[in-house]
């Protein structure tokens, strides 16, 4: 029986064990891997993807999908930096950046609600938005870098030191609380698992779904602003293909794309796993291109193990039932 339990633990935490092994191996070979400084560095690196991924998690649990986040990351950075350079109050500049994300979220949500879209329609509509928003981000500077004329203040501090980590983990905690402990979060799981039944039970599905896109948009904006603050400049193509990294974090964490279940903590773990992996591979001297191969395999492994594991559990349960009878 004990052996079975150990096996069970190994099976359900397979990906964590793989990463743990990677950490141990890297830690043995490279002394500067397991230092507080390096681990903080990893967290800082994943915080932007992590912030955006938290919003994406809400979207996915609610039975939708947002491919436009990468472009929103670019656009929010461009807007904030332009405003700061024009002499706007930095809090207002940040607010403008966030408002852009909210506006795009509303457009996404309303368009998808009009056609009663499910995941597949959300996929195409938000892909269209991704293309549109990416081009809007290119207009102000003709696609060029904009360096920010700012050396101190709140905006500058957002991307420095432990600030991004605090923002990331703080947000994740709040969102996990909202998801598990509030009626809003419970409704999200309901809508995500069965939209029609949720509607028949008297839930305002449209308003709720629009709110998921707004959350996803505003967090993408926040991620873009933090990214901008870290390098004190904006690149109108900074968020290119960001959505794929974000979805990878959600998926490796174990939230299913079919909606209705999942957790923000899992996404945090997913983002950190990917971050630690690329950091360890970096320290071991493996190139970014080799890392891409490993990352792709990691996604397949994480989800594949999750699915096979669930199926085996299901089979065991039915088997036990038969034995009892």
């Amino acid at each position: 029986m004990d052996r079975k339990r150990v096996l069970d633990i190994i099976r359900s935490n397979g990906i964590l064990i793989v990463i743990l092994l990677l950490i141990i191996v890297t830690g043995i070979f490279e002394s500067n891997f397991l230092t507080v400084n390096n681990l903080l560095n990893v967290l800082r690196q994943v915080s932007v993807v992590g912030i955006v991924a938290c919003g994406m998690t809400f979207c996915i649990i609610g039975g939708a999908f947002d491919l436009s986040v990468g472009s929103v990351v670019s656009l929010a950075g461009v807007i904030t930096i332009l405003n700061i350079n024009a002499g706007t109050n930095e809090y207002l500049a940040i607010l403008y950046g966030l408002l852009a994300g909210i506006a795009i979220g509303i457009v996404n949500g309303v368009l998808i609600s009009i056609i009663h879209g499910r995941t597949s329609e959300a996929f195409i509509v938000t892909y269209g938005m991704q293309v549109v928003v990416a081009s809007i981000a290119l207009f102000p500077s003709n696609g060029l870098f904009i360096s920010g004329r700012v050396s101190e203040g709140f905006f500058k501090s957002m991307g420095q030191g432990v600030m991004p980590i605090i923002i990331f983990l703080g947000l994740a905690t709040i969102m996990q609380f909202v998801l598990t402990k509030t009626p809003y979060g419970r409704r999200m799981c309901f809508i995500g698992s069965n939209m029609d039944v949720a509607k028949m039970s008297g839930i305002n599905v449209i308003a709720n779904r629009v709110s998921y896109f707004v959350i996803s948009g505003v967090l993408a904006s926040l991620g873009g602003i933090v990214l901008c603050s870290r390098v004190t400049s904006s690149n109108p193509t900074a968020g290119l293909n960001y959505e794929m990294d974000v979805i990878a974090a959600v998926v490796v964490g174990g939230t299913q794309l079919s909606g209705g279940s999942g957790s923000v903590y899992r996404t945090v773990i997913g983002a950190v796993i990917i971050g630690i992996m690329s950091n360890a591979l970096n320290i071991l001297g493996i190139t970014a291109y080799h890392q891409q191969i490993v990352k792709g395999m990691l996604i397949l492994l994480a989800v594949g193990m999750d699915i096979v594991n669930k199926r085996m559990k299901m089979r065991e349960m039915t088997h036990e039932k038969v034995v009892e009878e």
Binding site: L111, L257, L300
Partner: protein, 319 residues
């Protein structure tokens, strides 16, 4: 009067159902009258040549979508194939290069297919993973540098042209005929429709659903490789980032053509319209002197409009 009204209603329904073709027609007429260079033979040939490469992959993508799945990794298979084709041409000659590249593409597709059909993993995740991994592979093999070839036979094939039309549209046409025949007139093709329409019902009626899902990914892998080869024929070079937007372009063309992402309906012949709409649009915008980022903007708007229109029409039909 009543009959007239009924005819009018029928006309309106027909117009709405073929909204995309109507829009294409109006747009073409508009362009013919505003830009003289649009309706020249050279420009028409240009549109055909340009749209053929992605068209090959888009038709295979349509088959995948009909089976109720979709594939993000086709873009990476395309980029990888341009690299592999050029490298193997330099090493083994053009015939071997052709078969090796196609086989490799089919192998990648089969890998996707096994994970989706047998392990029952969601296609989005599987193809996201392979997309990242295959792109990485192409970068690693070439060290992120473009590779090129000066093979004489390849140059000769690239120079073949009938009234300006190169060999690529001919291959595209052949693939179209093959795919349409495969979908409409073979047991496998009809099984794919059944699998995409209702997986459980298809399974219970004795259709090998897993095989249907497996084979569509393999076909797309091979077709994406063929598209990559055609790109190689045109520019005689290979590079990992080539064709990055291929997957989403193909999905967009399929949906614009009128094949639903839900699966079970549609057809390759519809995707031809989707490809044409995108090709004519890009061509017209370029002729009108619209800048690159503005073109992107309009492209996104068109995509959103078409999917909105399509969904609204589909829902009205259901009611």
């Amino acid at each position: 009067m009543k009959k007239l009204l009924k005819n009018k209603q029928a006309l309106v329904t027909a117009l709405i159902e073929n909204a995309v073709s109507v829009i294409l027609l109006i747009f073409v007429i508009f362009m013919i009258f505003t830009k003289r260079s649009f309706s020249t033979w050279d420009n028409i040939v240009n549109i055909i040549n340009e749209s053929s490469i992605y068209g090959i992959a888009a038709c295979a993508m349509t088959i995948v979508i009909i089976s109720g799945e979709f594939d993000l990794s086709a873009s990476s298979v395309f980029g990888w194939s341009t690299v592999l084709f050029v490298l193997t041409i330099n090493a083994f000659g053009i015939v071997a290069a052709f078969f090796i590249t196609i086989a490799c593409g089919a192998l990648f597709g089969a890998f996707n297919g096994i994970l989706v059909a047998k392990v029952r993993m969601p296609a989005f995740v599987v193809t996201l993973g392979t997309m990242i991994a295959i792109k990485g592979l192409a970068y690693v093999v070439t060290n992120a540098q473009p590779v090129n070839t000066t093979n004489e036979t390849l140059k000769a094939i690239g120079d073949i042209s009938v009234a300006g039309i190169s060999i690529i549209p001919m291959v595209y046409l052949a693939m179209l005929v093959l795919f349409i025949w495969f979908l409409k007139h073979t047991r496998f093709g009809r099984n794919i429709y059944a699998t995409g329409g209702n997986y459980e019902v298809a399974r219970l009626s004795g259709i090998n659903v897993a095989f249907s899902k497996f084979i569509v990914f393999t076909i797309l892998g091979a077709a994406a490789a063929l598209a990559g080869i055609m790109y190689g024929v045109r520019i005689k070079a290979g590079w990992a980032p080539y064709g990055q937007d291929l997957s989403l372009y193909c999905i967009a063309a399929t949906i614009i053509g009128g094949t639903s992402l839900l699966g079970g309906t549609g057809g390759v012949h519809k995707t031809i319209i989707g490809i044409l709409v995108l090709a004519v649009l890009f061509n017209a915008l370029t002729l009108l002197g619209v800048s690159g980022s503005m073109q992107k903007f309009i492209r996104g708007l068109v995509l959103i409009t078409v999917i909105m229109l399509d969904s609204i029409v589909a829902r009205r039909q259901k009611e």
